[in-house]
């Protein structure tokens, strides 16, 4: 007789535990304001990433098309996987000396692991994080970027 009651008590407990779970899902079903889903491609206009978001490495230029990169190559050494390549050029200064400047700052986004060591190690703060995150392209050669813009030059007051 005891096991008979035990049998039905088990069934009752089982149904109760299932109903407890259903109560949780039911509560969310009837409170749609608690939905946290973002409609991503639709909200592109209003989507704002956090200030520190690591989208890609960029080299900020000012309004005169000037950057802060001296071409010292510390970021190239700091990078753990060879995403950065510095191609330097030498120009003749008015006083007859030769000065090293940057010709191309090549950044391979496809190899970058976003560790931030290049930005941290840069002595002249030439690099920064960009907010762009939609990096999908049809050809991987498009992931190799030149960070210094064509015709750009270094800001005058930067010294090595």
């Amino acid at each position: 007789m005891n096991s008979f009651f035990e049998y039905f008590a088990d069934i009752f407990r089982a149904v109760k535990s299932l109903l407890t779970g259903m109560k949780v899902t039911g509560r969310y079903f009837f409170s749609p304001w608690e939905i946290v889903t973002q409609q991503y491609p639709e909200n592109r206009k209003t989507l704002k990433m956090y200030d520190r978001f690591k989208g890609e490495v960029i080299m900020p230029h000012n309004e005169h098309n000037e950057h802060r990169c001296t071409g010292c190559g510390i970021c190239e050494t700091a990078c753990p996987n060879g995403s950065i390549e510095i191609i330097q050029a030498k120009i003749d200064m008015p006083d007859g000396k030769k000065k090293r400047i940057i010709d191309k700052h090549i950044y391979r986004l496809g190899m970058c692991t976003f560790c931030g060591l290049c930005i941290k190690s840069c002595p002249s703060d030439a690099l920064a994080w960009g907010q762009e995150f939609e990096h999908a392209v049809f050809d991987r050669s498009k992931l190799n970027k030149t960070l210094n813009q064509p015709g750009s030059s270094i800001i005058k007051d930067i010294v090595e």
Partner: protein, 375 residues
């Protein structure tokens, strides 16, 4: 035709056969292949085949400098990325005898615990999904999103942060960090009740996990099963408690211990640990001392020649980092003692005699992350 008819009839009950579970199987949580030897539905033995996602991280470390190693450790156990970083950073700091500021220790401890909660939340999602409850998956990820938002705001990325550097942190915490963490704790204390209502008390889940895959304390110790899985068997192995690092010696928390050692106990360990982690964060979040977020380190870090070892409590168990240095800027040899590898090694032992369906539950409760096993 006659020959076929005269074939001896084998008893299907006694015949052993092998099936492959994985490498592409949702319940192995990655590319792990288990060759399961079955008799009927009963698991006779099991052979894990690792190496599908082997990237040679330990070898890659030998050419990298110490600050560069940090970003590789992110990619081992990606669910406790901060804690992996912490191990390498502490090893370098101890070897160079650098004292990091108190502020750094506080922030590291808070972030480690947030990472542990996030990891356990994801484990809860996937465990619920393994048990057949897809609702858990969405609810767990919804709450994990709150932590990832905090991470993204402060450290710039959601999964692989590389936030710690030898000697300090990459940058200071965001001004809103404390406010957001406190808001999260308040939010999650409310939501964790849903977890219990939805899955812990569920009769199907309880019947599938209680008394399944029992691991005794002796076996847990001899296999080196650490973390929540080891503590469920009564093996006191919490590195935070027994060998405190960071500011764990200044906070009050319980080392959650179990006795039964079955799948349900391993489940409950992680549920309790989330409460304990929240307790730790609450004690620290208002007391972050002011100061520098990093110490001045040399441009090139060279560890003195010798052997170094550092261990931390990752979300899945004890992570050890072992370095042999010959005095150069990169290690001569680097070895990680990953908790997941030891936890996986016990799977054959605990699943013998269980049904093949229970293997999914046992594997889920051991909570292995495959990139950490293969490295």
């Amino acid at each position: 035709m006659k020959e076929i008819i005269n074939l001896p009839v084998k008893n299907v009950e006694e015949e052993e056969y092998h099936i492959n579970m994985g490498p592409q199987h949702p319940s192995t949580h990655g590319v792990l292949r288990l060759v399961v030897s079955l008799q009927g539905e009963i698991v006779k033995s099991l052979k894990p085949h690792c190496g599908y996602i082997h990237r040679g991280i330990e070898k890659m470390c030998e050419k990298d400098t110490y600050p560069q190693i940090i970003h590789l450790t992110d990619r081992m156990d990606y669910l406790s990325a901060h804690i992996n970083n912490h191990a390498v950073c502490m090893l370098v700091e101890n070897a160079l005898e650098v004292e990091v500021p108190e502020r750094v220790k506080y922030i590291r401890t808070i972030v480690d615990e947030l990472n542990r909660i996030a990891s356990h939340q994801l484990w809860w999602c996937s465990f619920g999904m393994d048990m057949g409850g897809l609702t858990c998956f969405f609810y767990g990820l919804r709450d994990r999103e709150k932590i990832l938002d905090i991470f993204e705001e402060s450290f710039g990325s959601r999964l692989l942060h590389s936030y710690y550097t030898p000697g300090g942190l990459m940058m200071d915490i965001h001004p809103d960090f404390q406010k957001n963490v406190k808001a999260f704790i308040k939010y999650f204390r409310k939501k964790i009740k849903d977890y219990d209502e939805l899955l812990t008390g569920n009769i199907i889940m309880q019947l599938r996990t209680k008394g399944v895959g029992i691991l005794s304390k002796e076996d847990a110790i001899s296999y080196g099963v650490t973390g929540p899985s080891g503590r469920a068997s009564g093996f006191a192995c919490d590195v935070r408690k027994h060998h405190p690092y960071g500011v764990y010696d200044k906070v009050v928390f319980n080392e959650v211990m179990g006795t039964a050692g079955d799948t349900f106990e391993r489940y409950m360990m992680r549920m309790h640990e989330m409460h304990e982690s929240m307790k730790i964060i609450e004690q620290l979040i208002d007391n972050i001392p002011p100061g520098d977020y990093t110490t001045k380190m040399k441009a090139v870090l060279k560890l003195p020649a010798g052997e170094y070892f550092q261990r931390v409590e990752a979300a899945r168990g004890e992570l050890g980092v072992y370095v042999i240095s010959d005095g150069n800027k990169s290690p001569y040899r680097m070895k990680f003692r990953s908790p997941n590898f030891s936890n996986l090694s016990v799977l054959d032992h605990v699943s013998r005699g269980c049904k093949i369906a229970d293997l999914v539950a046992i594997g889920g409760s051991l909570d292995y992350v495959i990139p950490d096993i293969d490295r």
